[in-house]
């Protein structure tokens, strides 16, 4: 349909830990898979979008720029963008959708390449980040107090949820348990070993209430999503998935000043520009860099009341593959790997096309929600099969 934006191709590199293949090599692998999936050729690509753009200082957090990709693929682009000053990771897909709707491009490669495990293993190539001297910007308000990781920032919101609404560790555990169960059915996921409640409860604590299994781990991978204009679908051979709505917000740039996570305003906003409602959603792919985040997404999007997220996932049956709201069917970031948001768009497309194989949810799913971030900034996409 003209005036609409669609995801027409998805691709992913090898997903692993401490890979030796170069970051640009992984990115090209993912592009090639996505191009083939869409039935396009590189000369039909006229846009590139990424989040957050190249960041030299942050080890392997984001080693590849739009320029790098345009250069190695010899693309002739009419539009490109890559910035961290966007509505979280999936904002790169929202931006691409805006561009194709505006006629600035017809087929846009959106990519997210992460290389943190490899970078950590190769300090000669990737000098460790300086956390101790000459701190500026937002990190000066947290890192002097040992809050080096987003785990420490997010955990405080989880603590508050426990005290205010009664969230329990047994409820929180369901995110990781569900992720592990689903990852076992996903050949591309890095986590293969099963997780039990006993194993979860006896795991070492990272920062309360988060134990080891509540936190994603550094992963090396590239994920690509191709966004195409509605009037260019005749060039595509895959089943297109429409980006029916998107939303994003920024709560406060300094995480510790936010009264609530941005998943709440973003979640409310997603429904404002669409006729779809929560009742129509067949599967959710919620950002889970930390296990608490899907709980805020459930509440923020209105699948349950604020404060009820823990009770919603209690026991894990509702969010299981055969439950009323299958969540993170590919394993999420706790099971699949830290693909940094893009995995959720990828998996939504897999499920809506019915390509999930052993992890495919039953029936004929038509609507999915994919999210990224949810702390200081957030993005959500509503994806629909027409």
């Amino acid at each position: 349909m003209a005036g609409e934006a669609y995801i027409t191709g998805i691709g992913m590199s090898e997903v692993g830990v401490r890979l030796t293949r170069s970051a640009i090599g992984l990115t090209v692998d993912a592009v090639k898979e996505a191009i083939a999936d869409a039935g396009l050729t590189l000369d039909q690509i006229d846009g590139v979008s990424t989040y957050p753009g190249k960041m030299q200082a942050f080890l392997g957090f984001s080693p590849i720029s739009t320029d790098d990709l345009i250069e190695v693929l010899g693309l002739k682009t009419r539009w490109h963008a890559g910035t961290g000053e966007a509505t979280a990771q999936l904002g790169a897909i929202t931006d691409a959708a805006s561009a194709v709707k505006a006629g600035l491009a017809r087929h846009v490669i959106c990519f997210r390449t992460v290389y943190e495990a490899a970078a950590l293993a190769r300090p000669d190539e990737y000098p460790p980040m300086q956390r101790r001297n000459d701190i500026t910007g937002g990190s000066q308000w947290v890192s002097p107090f040992g809050a080096f990781s987003a785990a420490c920032w997010t955990a405080q919101f989880a603590t508050r949820h426990m005290k205010r609404y009664g969230l329990t560790r047994e409820q929180l555990a369901q995110v990781a348990l569900n992720d592990h169960r689903n990852a076992a059915l996903n050949p591309r996921a890095i986590v293969r070993e099963p997780l039990t409640m006993d194993k979860y409860m006896s795991a070492r604590m990272i920062t309360t209430p988060f134990c080891l299994y509540d936190c994603d781990r550094f992963t090396d991978a590239s994920t690509v999503v191709i966004v195409s204009a509605g009037d260019a679908l005749d060039e595509v051979k895959s089943q297109p998935i429409r980006i029916a709505a998107s939303a994003g917000s920024l709560e406060r740039y300094s995480w510790d000043q936010a009264e609530w996570a941005s998943a709440y305003p973003t979640g409310r906003d997603l429904w404002k520009n669409t006729d779809y409602s929560v009742k129509d959603v067949d599967t959710v792919q919620f950002y889970d860099g930390f296990a608490f985040q899907p709980i805020t997404w459930l509440e923020g999007l209105g699948f349950c009341e604020v404060g009820e997220g823990g009770r919603f996932i209690e026991g894990g049956t509702r969010i299981a593959r055969d439950g009323e709201l299958p969540m993170n069917t590919g394993g999420g970031q706790l099971g699949w790997g830290r693909l940094h948001g893009f995995g959720f768009a990828f998996e939504s497309v897999v499920q809506l096309r019915g390509d999930g194989g052993a992890r495919q949810i039953a029936g004929d799913p038509k609507v999915a929600v994919a999210t990224s971030g949810g702390g200081p900034m957030a993005a959500a996409l509503l994806l629909a099969k027409d």
Binding site: R132, T136, G138, Q140, F145, C152, T159, T208, Q257
Partner: protein
Amino acid sequence: MTWQRSRIRLDRDNRAFWTGGAEGKLNIVRCDDCGQFTHPPREICRHCQSENVAPHAVAGTGAVDTYTVNYQAWAKDMEVPFVIARVRLDDVPGVYLTTNIVNCPVDAVDIDDRVKVVFEEQDGIWYPLFEKVA
């Protein structure tokens, strides 16, 4: 905690906050026009956009808004566990400080506990930490 804290690069905006402890002052930027506070500090009020702002010594008392007990040694010399907390300051609406709650066992901290500032100086930076008030 006796570890080397991240050393701040002082600039025009943040100097009063990170050095106020030398005089026992917890300085938060306040607007002389609308009376509201802006933190992290800036040279413009985030409430009314006035540029008539200046660091203002606040009481330095408050309450634990929320917290986490950190067990992971993110740096080699870090002594764990310790409490990372978000403190809401008395009479400074809408401003929180990330800090450590010190001078008590890690399991003695709870939300709404009353706290007051204690400064720890390292290399010319005065880090505002907090301890419980009985």
